[in-house]
Structure formats: C-alpha cells, structure tokens
Symmetry: C2
Subunit: 442 residues, 2 copies
Amino acid sequence: MEHLSGPAPTGLFRLSAALRYFMGLRFEIVAEDTTTGARAGLLHTPHGIVETPVFMPVGTVGTVKGMTQAQLEDLGVQVLLANTYHLYLRPGHEIIRELGGLHRFMGWPHPILTDSGGFQVMSLKSLGRVTEDGVWFKSHLDGSSHFFSPERAVEVQLALGADIIMTLDECVEYPSSREALHRAVKLTGRWASRAKEKLSAISFQPSASEGAGGWGLGAREEQSAAGIKQKAVRNKTGGSVAENREVLLPSPQSPAPALFGIVQGGVDKDLRRESAEGLLELDFEGYAVGGLSVGEPKAEMYEVAEYTAKLLPHNRPRYLMGVGTPEDLVECVARGIDMFDCVMPTRNARNGCAFTSQGKVIIKNARYARDESPLDPACECPVCRRYSRSYIRHLLVAGEMLGAILTTQHNLHFYVDTMRKMRQSLFFGAFAEFHSRVRARP
Amino acid sequence: MEHLSGPAPTGLFRLSAALRYFMGLRFEIVAEDTTTGARAGLLHTPHGIVETPVFMPVGTVGTVKGMTQAQLEDLGVQVLLANTYHLYLRPGHEIIRELGGLHRFMGWPHPILTDSGGFQVMSLKSLGRVTEDGVWFKSHLDGSSHFFSPERAVEVQLALGADIIMTLDECVEYPSSREALHRAVKLTGRWASRAKEKLSAISFQPSASEGAGGWGLGAREEQSAAGIKQKAVRNKTGGSVAENREVLLPSPQSPAPALFGIVQGGVDKDLRRESAEGLLELDFEGYAVGGLSVGEPKAEMYEVAEYTAKLLPHNRPRYLMGVGTPEDLVECVARGIDMFDCVMPTRNARNGCAFTSQGKVIIKNARYARDESPLDPACECPVCRRYSRSYIRHLLVAGEMLGAILTTQHNLHFYVDTMRKMRQSLFFGAFAEFHSRVRARP
C-alpha cells in the first residue's frame, strides 16, 4: 500500500482534491499549531470527509441515546462511534449485514467507527477468560457464552460495515502491575498483527489492493463507480474470494474499512513505546491510544497521551479512546490527538448535567426552578435559543424524555462546537489563545 | 359579549381577514360537507389560527412525550393540550405564571388548550370527595390533599395562560346509573355557570369587554398592540381590578382565554339534551362533549357524539374529548365534531404500536426483525423516509428512547395528516370519498 512519505502539507493551503485522490491520501493535515502538537486535518472515508480534530458521539446500539439522526446532522456531527459488542449481541451483526450494513440499518449515511468490542467484554464484568487465541465472555443480556478472536472481531466489524474498525486489544484495569501491563501490550501486539492479516486476506474492490482502499473517494463517487469496479473484481479474482466477501460484507460493493491499531501500556512510558513500535511495524491507517481515562490522575493521562502521540506517525490520525471532558479535548488536541469519543456529553445529559461555557450546570438543582435563562447564556444551540433552565429542570424532575433529549442536544452541541472552534483557531493561528481561554474557565 | 348571530359563512370563500377582525369572529366555518355534519373551520386564538377539524396532541406536563417543540412544528401540529391537574401539582401553576405562562415556559408560541383537571382528579384514583363546592383530591406525587372548585380551576388555567380553557365538570365512570349521570349533569351545569361568572369578573384587555376578547387577533398583532391597550385598561379600570389581574395572569397583557363548557350525560340522550341546553343558556365560546370514550360500545359513542353535536350552535367549535383512533376522528368529523385530543398516538407509540394506512403495526413483533420497509410504505413522514421497521423494532426491543421518539413522530404525523386530508377533502367536496376510503381500511 502506498502512503504519503514526505512531510504532510501544513497551513491553509491544500493540494487539490483530484491530486489527493490520485495520491491515495487518507488523512491530510491542513493546519498545525506552531507551539503545541495541535493540528487540523481531513479524514477521507467512504462515507464522507471528517474534519479533525473531531469528537465522535457514542451510539452504543446504533443510536445516540435520545437523538434522531437528523438532529445529529443539524448539530454538525460528522462521525459516530458504535459498539461492536452491543450490536453483535443485539440485533446481531448478521442481521445488520443482511440489511445492508450499519449505515443503512440506522439511517446514517455518514462515517461510522466501530470499536472491537474488547473494552466492553473486559469491563462489563462479562469476562470469562483471556487466552492467546482471544477472549471468552458472557452476554449481559442472557448470560450466553461468546468468543471474540482478533479475526472474529474483524469479521463482525466487516459485517457492520463501518468506515473505521479497531483491532481487538486486551484492556487491563487501573492500576495494574507492570507485568500485567506488559503481558497485555505483547498480546495486543500479536492480536493487532492477526487482525491486520485477516483484513488483508479479504479482497475488496480493486482500489483496495491498488492502495486507495476506497478511502480516497467520497461516498457518491464510490457508489457511481461500484458497478464498474465489481466487474473488474470478477475478472481478477476467483469465485472463492468473491464468496468470502459475500459472507463477510454487507454487499459486494462494500469498500475496505480503515483498520486502526491500539497502543496500550497504561501509564508506563516504556511500555507505551514498546506497544507503539510494534504497531508501527504493522503500518496501520490510524492509531488509537487505549487504556487511558480509566482512573489514573488527569495529569498522568495528559502526559501519557502526549508521549504516545509523539511516537506515532505525523501523517496518520491519532485517536484517544474514551476521553473526555471539554477541557480534556482541548488539552489533548494540544498534545497531538485528532479524534475522541466519550459517553460523557450524552450520559451526563441524561443525569441532568449540562456542559456550559461557565462550567457544569447541575440542572435539577432547586436554584434553577425559576431560572429563565438558557442552559448556557453564551450558547446558540437550538435548545438554548428556545428553552429555559426552569423548563428543562421541570422535565428532568418529572422524568420526561424531553429533559434528557434537550440536555443531550445541548451537550453534543457544546462538544461539537468546541471542536469547531479549536479547528478554526488552528486555521487562524489562534490555538494558543483558545487554549488559554478554555483553561481560564470556571 | 357580542357574537356573530347570522348564519356562519360556508364554502370556499371567506371574508377578508381585516373584516373578520372587525367583526370579532372567533370561529368561522369555511367549508361544509353536503351530506354529513363535517365542516372545516378557522379558530382564531391569541396565539394564532387553528385549522379545523384538528387533532390536539397531549402534552400532559408541558411536553408531548419524546417530541421537541420544533419537531411538533415540523409535523404541522397547530395546537397542544396540556393537563391542568399535572401542571398544578408540578412544577405548580404559580411558577409557570411567574415565568410568563405556559407558552413561554415550554417554548411553544402557538395555541394551547388546557383541560380543567376534572377528568384527572376523578380518574387517577386520587379522588377524595365531590361536593357542591368542588372536588377534593390527593396528589399522585406525594398524597397531599388539594381542592378544585370551578373558580379555582379557572384561576389555575388563567395562571397557565392557555388560549382555550375548560370548565370543571363532574366525570362519572361508565357504566353509571341514570341517577348518578343526572346528578353529574346538574352539578356540571352549576359549575359551568360559576366558571363563567368567575371569568367574567376578571377585567382583561379592553378588547375583551368590547367583545373581541383578544381572540380576533393573531399573536403578532396582539403583541404589538399590547402597550397601547394596557394604557387604555389603566384609564378605564380601577387599581383593584389591575391587582386582581396581576395576581391571576402571567402578565397584565395576557389576553382573555376562550371558555368552553362541557356537555355530560353519558349515553343517555335526554340527559345530553338537558346538559347541552343548560350550557347554551350560558353562551360559551365553544362546547365540548365529555364523558365519551370511557368504555361504552363504539356505535353508541358515535351515535351520542352525533346527537350531541346537533344540539350545539352551528357557529361554535365542538370538541370531543379523549377521542380516539384515526377511524374515530373521521367518523366523528362526519358527525359534526371539530376538535379532538387523545393520548393514543403518543402512548401507543411508546408501547410499539404504529398507526398506518394498512392498520396498526405492532412493531416489536419478531416478523419485523428483518423488515426493511418503513412503518407505513404509503407514508411520507421524516421517520418513514429514513428508517426501517427492523431498525425501529431493534430500538424498541433494546428499550432505546429513539424507538419511542420515532414511533411517536410517525403516529402524530399520521393523525395530523389524517386531519389535513379530511380538511382538504371538505374543500374539494370529496369528504364522502375520503370517508369511505378510511372505512375500507384493514
């Protein structure tokens, strides 16, 4: 596979779209901060372009709790995360594959990233046993036993048809002994290699084996070219490969997903380095930093995120899993991270916690019973334009769905808007100023 | 108060808006079916014009469960019903009054009708005791004791600031003895008289005492004229009346609501006639048919609705409370009803029942697990354009909010669209055809 080997383009000026497609670029950096590790980029996926730094709302079972897909679009959400573990158990990845993949199933024609399921099976107390081969776990729904190998995790994610898929990794709890961490780093490395091998063995559209992997194209070009490409595949490959693809993918035209490796190693820098170096040899299309935000002190999280980001290739997207608060996002973008996901804006919303420019607002508090101001007076989201704290408090106290819906909508707006402002500040050379403004928040 | 005493204008042609305002019209009939009692009208309220026949979604505690106000607007919902009993208990009508009334509180600048609370206190098993003076009841939230008199019910509804308010009535269960029904009819009549007297004693803007009652004006004119009118009130009325108004209304500029009387009498036609005649003497701005759809056979409900509608003035809106299925709406419009409310489209949605052109779809049924078709293949609502039965089934099975949200959105669209089509058929002289098409549904 070809990758851009020279220095990434920086600043406001970019290569033309045509040239980029020709070069098979997946991730292009379009602006960089001069004093921190922050950068703005464009991530080209089969279902559209994602502007980074980006926050991915969590749609665990194929829905961001309480939001319609139209509301997510209106908020400017560009990419969703869905949980492989949950979808595998219900409704089942095979059903989703039969129905044309997750995009079609959930009516979301934009980019989707699926995790490998590893974090869930190891954190939902459903863990049976980790072996060299994979992990046994029990369903939280009916207690039934299941097995995920690195290969199986790829297969399930292919059935879902996400744009970005993750390798199965071993997640250990915090704190863990150096020995346990080291074992997890080594196992995660071997599993990453097996996942990569599994994906490489599948024949996607010719562009995949030619280096573009379907990733240089927007969704529209992809679709219109599908007929022609499919013919080419039939001429080039044997029946067995086509069959293989048919069993695994939502449709024979499904483009190749990007596979991201996950760096583990807890807060041990040597182990982080060992983990990263092993993955770099395998050459992934992006790299995630896993095993952070699991209980370690925040300063350590920032330090390890920064240390790990610097180990990763400049021209590949870097994804910090499960992080975090709005402040975390800014701090970690400054440390070189491009992608985030977290349940915080949505889960906290359902518990009545709003993120605002003035800090968190615990909206059920009695002091808001007669408060006519919006959740955040500085906010221009549809919720803050229309509804008062008193109304939203009333809804949450009464247990009305709309309370969770409105607070979720506002919180997601706050997150998406924070990313948008960060990105703009990078274009205008004002990231440092934005950074210090966020730090000065109450 | 002045009312239009001549025959109501019928057919496609209407008086100009300016002329109507001058005449102080509240309800104008703009088309009538030649063979049934069906008619299309315009109901002018301080917060805008409502096209009848109309279905009012139920927003019990100031929210239509699962819907944002923007989604309701997009569906074409013109008027909401809110429950006085629930809002009185939580957050409390005084808080809503202080915050500028229910429209402002819930971010809904369109018409609102509030019930009197009578039905809830007598059906939520919270009933203590009905006396000549009013009804004692216990809160379903904390068991505390409360008392609603006809006057108190008006006061609470004035604090909420709805466009249409209802008189307190005695609702008896089905079946009841003729004696119990008769007693309820008589008490409801006396309470209606007291409610009317209570409202008449309040000095609203001058237009009220001049006959227009604020009702001939759209919300915009109302607002821009408010300053001038308020001055006029101060000149005409004493300080004590102004004080009275200040205590009762969301703002001194609050327009007079329309008060509807409620006809009771169960399925006994003589009692219905007695009840209606008593109310007609009091001259209400609209009349409701209460005490139906409480367990009586459907044929009897239709018959009594028709019989009662014929007793009511041609030029006043007729509101059938708590009805019903989409088929009920069509049958009862044919029998002369203009307004409806019912929890059915929203409550059934949360239980996974979708109303469609092919009848009810119980969407959790296993047969829909792989069904890629929309809830209703003949439907053009945002839900049917985007989502499949399989996805919505998955959401409902997984207990995800979005399952209830999408099914509610679809069901409300189905109801609103049914009313819209009925209205159009009335304009084009095709009501009979529409009527028989609905009757032929599975």
